[in-house]
C-alpha cells in the first residue's frame, strides 16, 4: 500500500517536474547553456612564473561559475521577494474586517440602495447586471474599450502575417476532408452552443451570466466551426472586415446609447427609455441591448484572438 502511494507520488512529482514520458510535440523551454568546460590550456613551463593577478583570476572564476551562481542568486531572490510580499500582506489581512460578517464597512448604505431599490430603478432582476450596466455603466464602458484596444493591438501586431512571406509562421490548420468524427460532433454541437450562448446573453438581466460570459460561449462555437471545417469556411461569413465592422458598430451603439443615458441623467432630463416589468425578457431599459452589444463584441474579439494566434489572420 505504502509503495503504491509512493509510486503515485513519484509519478505526480515527475509529471510536475516535467521528467515523465513526453508526447512528441511537447514544447520544451530552451535548455540553459551547459557550464563552460575548463577551456584554459595548461600553462607551459615558462609561463608558470606568470602570476595571475587577482582580477584575472576573478574573471576566470566568474566565467566558469558565473552563470550557475547567477541562477542560484536569482531563485533565492525570487523566493525571498515572494516571502516578503506574502508576509506583509498576511499581516495586513490579519487586521482586516472579519470574513463574511454582516457589519463590515463594505455592507453600507450603498449596498442597501442597490439591493432594495435596484429592481425598480434599473428594472433588472439580476442585481449585478443592474449594477454594472446602469449604476456603474461608465466602468463597464471602459471595460469594453479595453477589449477593443486589445483587439486592435493584437490585430496590428499579428495581423497580415498569413499573406506576407516575411514571417515564418505557417498555417497550423490544414483543411482535411477525412475528419468525419469532428464534423459529426460539430454539426450537433454548434447549434446547441449557439443557442446556449444566446440564452445566456439575452437572459443577462434575469439570471447569472450576461454579455461577457455569453459572448465567450458564442466564440467557442465559431472556434469549433473553424476547427471542423477549416478557417476558410468561417472566413466566408466572418472575415477581418466583418470583424472590424461588427465590433466597431456594436461598441458604437453601446457608446451612443449609454452616452444618451449619461447625458440625460446628468442634466436631469427625462429619458425616453422604458424600464418595463421586472422579470420579463423585455425589461430593464438599456440593459438587454447593451448585453447583446457586449456579447457581439466579445464573441468577435475572442474568435479574432483565436484566429490571429493560430493563423496570423482572421
Amino acid at each position: 500500500m505504502n509503495d503504491e502511494l509512493k509510486s503515485i507520488w513519484l509519478k505526480f512529482f515527475n509529471w510536475v517536474m516535467g521528467n515523465g514520458p513526453r508526447p512528441e510535440n511537447e514544447v520544451l523551454p530552451p535548455e540553459p547553456p551547459p557550464d563552460l568546460p575548463f577551456t584554459q590550456k595548461p600553462h607551459d613551463k615558462f609561463s608558470r612564473f606568470h602570476e595571475a593577478t587577482l582580477k584575472e583570476r576573478y574573471n576566470q572564476w566568474l566565467e566558469i561559475h558565473g552563470l550557475h551562481i547567477f541562477s542560484i542568486l536569482y531563485s533565492a531572490l525570487s523566493i525571498l521577494t515572494c516571502l516578503v510580499i506574502v508576509v506583509l500582506l498576511l499581516a495586513t489581512v490579519a487586521e482586516l474586517p472579519p470574513f463574511g460578517h454582516e457589519r463590515n464597512p463594505a455592507n453600507n448604505e450603498v449596498i442597501r440602495r442597490y439591493v432594495e431599490h435596484g429592481w425598480h430603478e434599473t428594472g433588472a432582476q439580476n442585481i449585478v447586471a443592474g449594477l454594472i450596466l446602469d449604476y456603474r455603466a461608465f466602468d463597464t464602458f471602459g471595460e469594453s474599450s479595453v477589449l477593443f484596444t486589445a483587439a486592435v493591438s493584437v490585430l496590428m501586431i499579428l495581423g497580415n502575417s498569413r499573406s506576407s512571406k516575411k514571417y515564418k509562421f505557417k498555417q497550423l490548420h490544414v483543411y482535411r476532408n477525412d475528419d468525419t468524427i469532428l464534423r459529426g460532433v460539430a454539426v450537433m454541437a454548434i447549434p446547441v452552443i449557439l443557442m446556449m450562448g444566446c440564452v445566456v446573453v439575452i437572459n443577462g438581466h434575469l439570471s447569472a451570466g450576461g454579455g461577457f460570459a455569453g459572448g465567450a460561449i458564442l466564440s467557442t462555437a465559431l472556434i469549433l466551426c473553424a476547427n471542423a471545417y477549416g478557417f476558410e469556411s468561417v472566413r466566408r461569413f466572418f472575415n477581418e472586415r466583418i470583424f472590424i465592422v461588427s465590433s466597431s458598430t456594436a461598441l458604437m451603439i453601446y457608446a451612443l446609447s449609454k452616452g444618451y443615458s449619461f447625458f440625460t441623467g446628468a442634466n436631469q432630463l427625462h429619458s425616453i427609455i422604458p424600464k418595463g416589468v421586472v422579470g420579463n425578457i423585455l425589461s430593464a431599459g438599456l440593459i438587454l441591448p447593451l448585453n447583446i452589444c457586449v456579447g457581439l463584441i466579445v464573441a468577435g474579439t475572442l474568435y479574432g484572438f483565436y484566429a490571429l494566434f493560430s493563423e496570423g489572420d482572421i
Binding site: 516535467g18 514544447v27 447569472a208 451570466g209 460570459a213 484572438f305 483565436y306
Partner: protein, 87 residues
C-alpha cells in the same frame, strides 16, 4: 462544507507553486487551467454565479486556449528549426 473550502484553497496554492517550479511549459499551462476551474467552483461557494460562469468560459476556456496556441506556435517553430538543421 468548511473542509471542502479548505481543500480547494489548498489546491489553489499547490497549483500556483507547481506552476512556478515545473519545468515543462505545457504542464504549467495545464495546471493553470485546473487552477481556473477550481477558482470557478470557489466563486460558486462565495455566491457569485456570474463570476463562476465568466471564469469557467474565459479563464479555463479562452485564456488556456490562447496559451496552448502560443505554445504550439513556438513548438512548431522549434521543430521547423530542427528539420532545417538536419537538412
Amino acid at each position: 462544507m468548511a473542509i471542502i473550502e479548505w481543500l480547494l484553497l489548498l489546491f489553489l496554492i499547490v497549483c500556483a507553486i507547481s506552476v512556478s517550479i515545473t519545468k515543462s511549459l505545457l504542464n504549467s499551462v495545464i495546471i493553470f487551467m485546473s487552477y481556473s476551474l477550481v477558482m470557478a467552483v470557489i466563486w460558486v461557494l462565495l455566491r457569485s454565479p456570474d463570476l463562476a460562469i465568466t471564469e469557467a468560459a474565459v479563464g479555463a476556456g479562452v485564456t488556456s486556449v490562447l496559451f496552448f496556441l502560443a505554445l504550439r506556435k513556438v513548438g512548431q517553430l522549434e521543430h521547423k528549426k530542427d528539420e532545417e538543421e538536419k537538412e
